[in-house]
């Protein structure tokens, strides 16, 4: 059994060098980790499970990767090897990302981007890798379904000054400021995405399309009291009936406040705040402006 194990490991290495990721993973997964002579060696088992999961992920095979990362999750708490733990975290985040659990993936990527200790298991984690993790966190957050939780993560990322140096920052800023994203910006963002992030959904739109349309719809609700579906479609760059369908879904999922008048083909966006509160806010901001003027006068010695 020991010889078989060694041969498999050697073959897996060769497949890996050939970038035959799935074959390499299959070779390793043939090693009996549950009953063989290694069954007692938790560290060896954990290392192998994480390795197999990473190899499957190289071929974007999140399903098989998840099988092994689940096995690893039962052993990782007892592990002392920081390198393996980090690999496990990377793997877990990438599996969530591949399975389009974008918000969970974003949180894990962000946690990894904040790694303090750079020297792990004799290897240096360089700035570039941390930036990649941060960029992945931003990308996944942008792709996540619009709503309050995503807004909180966006706020965290936007306020993290490391993000202002990322290439993806302009789009992060517009998404955070709830501004409508125009097609050129979306296309530029699309170029940076991984294949699975551009995958087709059952309704034959892509993950990106859906994220962008929902985002733009929410952004439009901040700008409009009401809008016809004709114009909304023109604004979002999609067919009016599709805009209506997505708006209806978001309203029913309580991710946007509003009502749809199908006779007039108009969507009316509800204001989250009552008129009286609006008045209070207006009075507060008028008084704030007055204070600003008085401060300016003070500063200028008037």
């Amino acid at each position: 059994e020991e010889q078989v194990c060694l041969i498999r490991e050697r073959l897996a290495e060769l497949y890996e060098i050939e970038e035959e990721w799935t074959k390499s993973a299959q070779m390793l997964s043939g090693i009996d980790l549950d009953t063989g002579i290694r069954a007692g060696d938790e560290s060896y088992k954990l290392t192998k499970c994480v390795k197999i999961a990473l190899l499957y992920l190289e071929d974007d095979d999140a399903t098989n990767a998840e099988v092994y990362i689940k096995k690893a999750s039962f052993m990782v708490n007892g592990c002392k090897d920081e390198a393996v733990i980090l690999q496990y975290k990377v793997c877990y985040a990438r599996i969530l990302d591949s399975k389009r659990k974008f918000l969970e993936a974003a949180l894990r990527y962000y946690e990894m981007s904040q790694l303090e200790k750079r020297e792990i298991g004799g290897r240096i984690v360089d700035e570039e890798e941390l930036q990649q993790a941060l960029t992945a966190a931003v990308t996944c957050t942008i792709l996540a379904a619009a709503g309050p939780q995503r807004s909180r993560v966006l706020a965290t990322l936007y306020k993290d000054e490391r993000c202002s140096k990322l290439k993806i920052y302009p789009i992060l800023q517009k998404v955070y400021l709830e501004r409508i994203l125009r097609k050129p910006e979306v296309d530029a963002f699309a170029e940076e995405l991984k294949p699975h992030q551009k995958a087709l959904l059952p309704d034959s739109s892509t993950v990106l399309d859906r994220a962008m349309i929902e985002h733009n719809l929410l952004s439009a609700s901040k700008l409009y009291t009401n809008i016809s579906f004709e114009e909304l479609g023109a604004l979002l760059g999609i067919a009016p009936d599709k805009a209506e369908k997505i708006a209806a879904r978001m309203i029913s999922e309580d991710r946007m406040r509003g009502s749809i008048d199908q006779v007039e083909a108009v969507i009316h966006f509800d204001n989250d705040i009552e008129e009286l509160q609006q008045w209070d806010q207006q009075i507060v901001s008028v008084c704030q402006s007055l204070n600003d003027v008085l401060d300016s006068m003070m500063k200028k010695g008037i």
């Binding site: 501004r179 409508i180 700008l223 409009y224 009291t225 009401n226 809008i227 016809s228 114009e231 023109a234 604004l235 007039e264 108009v266 009316h268 207006q282 901001s285 704030q288 402006s289 600003d292």
Partner: protein
């Protein structure tokens, strides 16, 4: 305030440059200032001596452009286009942005028809894109677009340079506001006094009722 804060440095830069720029250099400075995407204030530059000296020279049309950007609108430009140099695209956009600010001075609800006429825009989509991208996202106005009523409700608009004669109006509005605030304040104080009075009389009434209750209880 944000707009003022953002552009105060720019204003200072251009004023500094205007101290040494004369003739052609001053004309180029005006073109640069009226093209800058973040500058919406021109009164300071207009007040600089070297800029005023352009009057009557070969560069006086640049001075006219600066006056147009300080106080005028897109319609003013179109009426006077033959006497003014051809505006660059970024200058045209800026003058339209300034026109929205001027329109927002008169009323808080701007009808689409008025906006489309004053901004020379032929359809709703283009008008709304201009208001969204170049006004709301530029931070010079805040508000809501209402397609059913075909109007733009302005909740905030940055201040433009004051036109001659506007100061009196502004003082008058401030006086009215002061008077109204004082009236409201005295009104509220009166209501508070009334409420206190009512509270006192309720307390007295309640005390009388309790005393009467006590008497009845004793007699029974």
């Amino acid at each position: 305030m944000e707009v003022e804060e953002r552009q105060s440095e720019l204003v200072e830069q251009f004023v500094m440059l205007a101290k040494s720029a004369r003739g052609r250099a001053a004309a180029e400075l005006i073109a640069h200032a009226t093209s800058h995407p973040s500058l919406f204030a021109f009164a300071e530059l207009l007040a600089m001596p070297h800029i005023g000296e352009l009057q009557g020279t070969e560069h006086s049309s640049s001075l006219d452009v600066l006056k147009l950007f300080a106080h005028g609108t897109w319609s003013d430009y179109k009426c006077n286009a033959s006497n003014l140099p051809q505006l660059l695209p970024q200058q045209q956009l800026k003058l339209k942005q300034l026109t929205v600010l001027t329109l927002a001075e008169t009323t808080k609800v701007l009808p689409y028809d008025l906006l489309m006429r004053e901004l020379d825009v032929s359809n709703v989509r283009d008008l709304e894109d201009l208001l969204i991208n170049d006004c709301m996202y530029a931070g010079i106005v805040r508000g809501k677009l209402d397609q059913c009523r075909r109007c733009f409700e302005v909740s905030f608009a940055a201040g433009r340079d004051l036109r001659p004669g506007q100061l009196e109006n502004m003082m008058q509005t401030l006086e009215n506001w002061l008077a109204k605030s004082e009236f409201l304040l005295s009104n509220i104080q009166e209501k508070i006094k009334w409420a206190d009075g009512m509270n006192e009389s309720d307390k007295r009434h309640k005390k009388e009722v309790e005393e009467k209750q006590e008497e009845v209880r004793k007699s029974v």
